[in-house]
């Protein structure tokens, strides 16, 4: 027979256990939520650090932390008016101070693209998951083909890394990814370096009608971009500039260098609450280019003028012979300074990248500045970069 005291002990034990269990479950639940959020914050911070590291050092790297924790949202927003990229996740946003072309994925490969202007190098970090970039060159004129190759050259090089960014062509309903003899010993999809060996065909390809699986992005080069199924479409360039379109968008985007192509291709026609990703990356690239290269041009112009004045002072002082090689640097510096001033003024306009006339003049002046800088290097006034 169970005594009253024993019943009391059992009931008391049940009540206390129930209370302790409830407390543990409640606390563990809220703690686990905090832990998930903390992990997401750490992952975003790690991504930001790695992207900056790749940007500054040029050493590519894979990044697989996004698969460690479930992200219900991962997107890219462009912060206005500065134009900085913000990676947006459930927990919040992380703003990057460096230019970044971001395509979401669980496992990313981060590399750096460079636009060499001679007197300056403009870098962009690129973060992409396993991607097959399919090009559909319906127009294969020399300038179009050269632009296409230059854009491919600026895309990530994943040889020796995972995940892979590979390239292929589309002709009608056929996708060609393995170019035997060109893409390495086995018939693997083409990595960048191998794809660049492909020669320009005599005739253009038919519009791509092939069904593109997940992980494929399409870039079309055509005079008529009206019926593009997905991705970005580029009208052939004329004097280095041209119009681009994104499938599903009615807007036209002016491109003036191969990096604009890269931004539109990587972003593509994906759209979310922040708009078309291709459009966002195109705006981001031009904003960051304007800010960074604008400041660089202003600084290098002033540097050039200061050095020219200092050289003249030394000649006047008698410290430097007027016919010495260094004395010849003075005029070259002054000329470079003048051209860089024009570039600074052109890039100071927020919408410099939206008008044909301004981008054509910009391209002209950038080419001039590059030639002048090469002159300075050949004279020994500036180091070889």
């Amino acid at each position: 027979m169970v005594s009253a005291f024993q019943v009391f002990k059992m009931l008391f034990g049940l009540i206390i256990s129930g209370f302790v269990l409830y407390f543990l479950v409640f606390y563990a639940g809220s703690y686990s939520q905090t832990q998930t959020e903390s992990q997401q914050v750490i992952i975003l911070k790690n991504f930001e650090d790695l992207a900056k590291d790749v940007y500054y050092t040029g050493n590519p790297s894979p990044f697989g932390d996004f698969k460690r924790v479930e992200f219900s949202m991962l997107s890219l927003e462009i912060r206005e008016p500065e134009g900085n990229a913000q990676v947006v996740a459930d927990i919040g946003k992380v703003t990057l101070t460096v230019p970044l072309f971001f395509r979401p994925g669980d496992e990313l490969f981060i590399d750096r693209a460079t636009m060499d202007l001679g007197w300056w190098e403009f870098h962009v970090a690129e973060a992409m998951p396993e991607t097959k970039v399919i090009l559909n060159p319906m127009e294969v004129g020399p300038e179009s083909w050269s632009y296409m190759k230059e854009a491919v050259r600026m895309m990530p090089s994943s040889i020796g890394f995972e995940p892979k960014v590979t390239f292929g062509l589309c002709d009608g309903d056929v996708i060609v990814e393995d170019f035997l003899g060109l893409c390495g010993p086995s018939s693997d999809p083409c990595e960048k370096e191998y794809f660049l060996r492909i020669s320009r065909p005599d005739t253009g390809m038919s519009r791509c009608t092939a069904q593109l699986p997940e992980g494929y992005i399409l870039a079309t080069i055509a005079r008529d971009c009206s019926n593009v199924q997905s991705g970005a479409c580029f009208e052939p360039p004329s004097v280095g500039t041209g119009n681009a379109h994104i499938a599903g968008s009615t807007k036209t985007y002016l491109y003036h260098d191969a990096m604009d192509w890269v931004a539109l291709i990587i972003g593509g026609s994906r759209s979310d609450i922040y708009g078309f990703a291709g459009e966002n990356l195109w705006r981001h690239k031009n904003k960051m280019f304007g800010t960074e290269v604008g400041l660089a041009a202003e600084m290098m112009a002033e540097r050039a003028r200061m050095l020219a004045t200092a050289i003249e002072d030394e000649v006047n002082r008698g410290g430097l012979l007027p016919d010495s090689q260094s004395a010849d640097c003075k005029q070259l510096y002054l000329d470079l300074g003048t051209v860089l001033d024009v570039i600074t003024d052109a890039l100071s306009l927020d919408d410099y990248h939206t008008a044909f006339a301004s981008v054509r003049q910009l391209n002209e002046k950038l080419a001039e500045a590059e030639a002048m800088h090469n002159g300075l290097v050949n004279k020994g006034c500036e180091p070889i970069t």
Partner: protein, 170 residues
């Protein structure tokens, strides 16, 4: 009989006492754990702050806006960037400041932002009198006109210190 009654009451009292004690321990654990989480978060915050400082330092030491080569600053670039704080902030981030000083002289000779001067040895960008955290690093400064000979100009590499800091948020 009396002993049995007391034994029962003693048993119940012991249970009650144990229960109270367990409750006290649980409450203490809750407070302790919450306190630990708060201090972890604070510690995480201060670790993020020092990691950000280090990140800013690395950014400056690798940025072609300031350098000629890794950890080698260009004196003409530094001079040209003085007075362009607002634009530098757009590239490096707000609240960041930079100071560079060569070490051949103890005295600080500020460089004129509009004139190239081989004799100055101190550059500052976005520096103001405000509470801040900073890190220093030994670097080099390339003096573009370090050696002026009749036949030509040669550069010179000086030993220097860079200080990169962030102002405290107000």
């Amino acid at each position: 009989m009396k002993t049995k009654k007391l034994a029962g009451q003693m048993g119940i009292m012991e249970y009650m006492l144990m229960t109270v004690f367990i409750m006290v321990i649980i409450v203490m654990l809750v407070f302790f754990f919450s306190g630990w989480q708060i201090s972890q978060t604070q510690m995480q915050g201060s670790r993020v702050k020092s990691e950000n400082l280090l990140s800013n330092l690395k950014n400056v030491m690798y940025s072609p806006l300031f350098i000629r080569d890794d950890s080698m600053f260009d004196d003409a670039k530094l001079t040209a960037l003085q007075g362009k704080c607002e634009k530098v902030k757009e590239v490096l981030g707000a609240d960041v400041f930079i100071e560079v000083k060569t070490l051949e002289k103890v005295a600080e000779i500020p460089c004129d932002p509009h004139r190239y001067d081989i004799n100055c040895n101190y550059w500052s960008i976005c520096r103001r009198d405000a509470p801040h955290s900073a890190l220093v690093m030994p670097v080099n400064v390339y003096r573009n006109m370090g050696n002026v000979l009749a036949s030509g100009i040669l550069g010179r590499v000086d030993l220097a210190i860079v200080k990169v800091g962030v102002y405290e948020s107000q």
